[in-house]
Subunit: 238 residues, 6 copies
């Protein structure tokens, strides 16, 4: 039934490559099927003004797509002179998701600046960004600990994200582009390793969805995120 | 327990004033407690390029806050030269919520341009905007029908929105600013008159939330939205 | 002769509502006929760099129109990414007019930030903004005095503004939109309570105007401003 | 009494050089004392959208200052990415002043685009711009007539401008920078060759001005503008 | 002597991977040592206005760096709202270099839009971009021919680029970052397969360079570009 | 053969006028044939952040063209809201060229801000800007020495620039617009008084150029720059 022949509750193959580039403190390539995102975590010795007084640190995220990461070329945001509403929405989401599992007070007066850049898009770029960025942040934190810059990890739990949706009447896990552009309901879910919800963003693209459908989608998301967190753990061991 | 002395499942008083200004085809002032938003719906005889080919119409929304609608003055976005990520996120949400109940094909080659401007903010401005804007759109549609410009209403159902959250451990309905700025979880819910979900956006501000908490919040939201839709109906009869 | 049936030297009904919103130190709704402007005065504990050295304070003003305050929808300046030349001209005028009657040295190192937002436009929005903003500034100053933050009022005199013009060959007071868009000469006059001129801005829209016409217009403006200042005084007593 | 030793009613020396640069249809250098402005009038075969329907033409103006035309360097507006409010105010004034004496219907579907660029500033740059630009527009119109592109001149009258002000209590004509930055009242006056007023913009910089002072200033302006128009006529004969 | 232990006339290892991403008509990853750039060529069915009249096509290029492609994080240009002067200079250079070997008339009314995005920077990103982009353009042209959209290849010759410079007094080929940031003279050379110069851009960073040094640098560049073009040919065969 | 009847190795007449305007510390009008550029050098008592730590000074340049300095009107960059890529490329070149002969450490914590504004364009505006700006910087340095603000001149050598190109198959010196817009190869060369190269920027507009052509062009450039430096010396004596 699914264009990709997957089962309704089947994730796309996930691949997480650490140290994908050499400069960043954390540098991860995450591949979820054909969606590929470079996630870097940079440690900066400064914090934004609104954090200054707290004495603690900050974590922020930016997101972008290479112009031809998409099926037809998307205008370069740097050339247009502004980030789209969609881009801002996504980068705010990534930042909130990661901050939910990081104890900023333990970072010291530093910012972990996450950049998620989509090299190839095939649906689910924002959720892949969150899942990959968590590993990059983890590596940046290890870098801080290895240098003795912080004593204790500020990371409280794992966090990962996945999209779920209702495609041709059936709740499915991990939408690819073919599904995403034709589904009735699209929901992005962010969860922690201990199973708590950090974000649930469901949108009816076609007809409204019912409480029952919502429950089915959340069940799928929980399953998918468990598997994604397993993949993160495997990558961090590797 | 609540700063406003309300019951956990109690909405703030809602007041919807139609024809609040004289120029717009639909012009509503909605007041939810101390939150006051002017919602206008303007009928424009043009559609954006991506709609042109469809032959149908479009509905879009913009959102703004008067600089001193807030406790401390917020910079004027027109003076800063751009809309914040928050503003763009909200106006995209309002547009999606209203389009979910409007059959754009029946609008003809027209745009209904919704403007939601917050005169006074006390929490819940985005949900108040949706609830008020629906009434403004309804009035604009009546204006089109009265002039014989369209034969049939493109409005398929009512739509309204409310925020819910977990404040001091208790799920509560319709957060005001005092609650919103101190809650653990904040969820905005958009539903139709027939009880379908259009948007669910839940965010853990502090610790993650459980499936059980989510269910409690959705129950509150359903109750609140039923009451808000009743208020819309009363206003449209009045 | 006038579309509104008014006498040539007759103002539109003026209504000044104080404390129109709850957050600002001064918050006024001024209505001049169908023109309605929310004027707030915010007290900020900072001054712009060019004032820093003086030790005194500053007063500045911003102006905006809600997109559908006008007969046809005007683009939202925040969405377009810049303020129009007209907006900047108006907000500079409002700022100069108010500074003419405020002794900035007596404000201390503070800025009174005035915002004039037009809710409904029917001609004369810039002059209504000045007249209403004066009352908002007065309330903000009273707020400062009441809290013991300044000892003495920096307000030296009242200030108000009105438009005058030549409509169908006749000098008339307080142009509404129907007159404004068809008049030959349009003049905005700002005067103090003691009858001094702060600004005179006359523009020939059609044929040039004579010295005699100018004198007739100034006579009307003096009469109108006397009445507007009386309305300000009544509002401040009320 | 005046820093320049001039009489109160004495203009600075005026010099108008036509064909100052070789590309523009009209290209004038105007020097009013040490203020020097290059004024060009370019004939473009297009009109802005709002004029399209009229079948006639348009005249618009832009204004700029070279960064070091001023005593201390002013930021380059192109580098800052926007024109200041002052710049926009001035270029709108120049455009209105010139349109007041040009019958746009007789231009055909063309725009006369005026550019006024200040090479050296010593007060009165906006009024010098208007006086010089009129001569440039006159030359551009002659160019159109010489090529048989229009049959009849659309220019109805001469137009020129001057500043007047109250300096150390005395009304004076044609303020230079030393006076302008220390005067109580500053007024820019635009008049036609037949003595009609096109613009009067008076501002009290210090204390408000009286009706009597205004009359004295207008008398000075009338005298000055008569002399400036004589200089325009002499230049156009030369 | 060189930080990388290379001979003065030795290129870094070059690797060119075609079909690196799946959406673009040409999609190449070029690696010159640690410098890695994704070069895509997108075929668009439109041309910019200034090309419209020619009946032929256009080729344009854009360039960007991922924020953490560099040793310390560089601000994201999309977030800052504009491209730097450096970026614009580079993308103009890439476009000119490629257009020098493409007969635009043979493209038909199409644009080949090249995007060069630096994934990891270690010196020579602009020259690597040109060398890689040529292969991407070649693939896009093959795509056009394969679909019968054009009959004949518009590509007249190969083109590649390399940097040369004087490092510690010695002319060297293909500067990496360690050399580039400490060299006296830096020169970027673009040449065709037949050995003609397309661009020579030499800059003395420290002391001026002599004619003799220039000749030595050009000799190195000729050698390097011959090898790079051999690598392009090998990749296109592969 | 040349449109201007000049010999292939003949410069256009050069005229350098110092003290062209009165405010700047260095203010030069340079005329190369019909190309006229105002070059000012302003001394500012501040340095950009990246220079702060060095204790030394900085020199930067900005470039602009009056809208009608060109044959057809060019849009005003200040009105469009950004500088073109060409403008940025030119102003970066001017800055680099001048910094090559100035010992910034000897400037003290000051910036010399150069502005080159083209009054009339006829080819070679960027090279004329460099040649003229050097004289303006020299005057600004003399101003600093005369006031005792620096003890010793930071100027190490003269610097000037010229364009050369291949026009109808013949290498020619100092291209004017008629040649520049029809030449095969265009090269801008910046050299010091002692004959070292600071910048060489050659571009094949049509077919690629050979090593032999490059040598012929560099010979012409050396001759031209010797003459331009002689003109600078004469001007500085005058």
């Amino acid at each position: 039934m699914r264009p990709s022949q997957r089962q309704p509750d089947q994730l796309r193959p996930v691949r997480i490559t650490r140290n994908y580039t050499k400069h960043a403190e954390g540098a991860v390539l995450i591949e979820c099927g054909d969606t590929r995102v470079i996630c870097t975590a940079s440690v900066l010795d400064k914090v934004p003004p609104h954090v200054k007084a707290s004495g603690g640190g900050w974590l922020t995220a930016e997101y972008g797509m290479l112009p031809r990461s998409t099926g037809t070329r998307t205008d370069r945001e740097a050339a247009r002179g502004k980030q789209s509403g969609r881009t801002q929405e996504i980068q705010r989401l990534i930042g909130r998701a990661l901050r939910a599992v990081v104890d900023l007070a333990k970072l010291g007066e530093r910012t972990v600046h996450v950049d998620c850049d989509v090299i190839q898009a095939d649906g689910g770029t924002r959720t892949a960004s969150i899942t990959g960025a968590f590993v990059a942040v983890h590596d940046a934190v290890s870098w801080l600990i290895a240098r003795g810059l912080i004593a204790e990890s500020p990371i409280r739990d794992f966090v990962a994200a996945v999209s779920v949706g209702i495609y041709q009447g059936v709740p499915v896990l991990d939408l690819d582009y073919a599904e995403d552009s034709n589904c009735d309901t699209d929901m992005n879910v962010v969860m922690t390793g201990s199973g708590g919800f950090v974000e649930v963003q469901g949108t009816a693209e076609g007809s409204p969805f019912t409480r029952g459908e919502m429950n089915a989608l959340l069940d799928l998301a929980e399953k998918g995120i468990r598997e994604l967190i397993a993949a993160q753990k495997a990558a961090l061991k590797g």
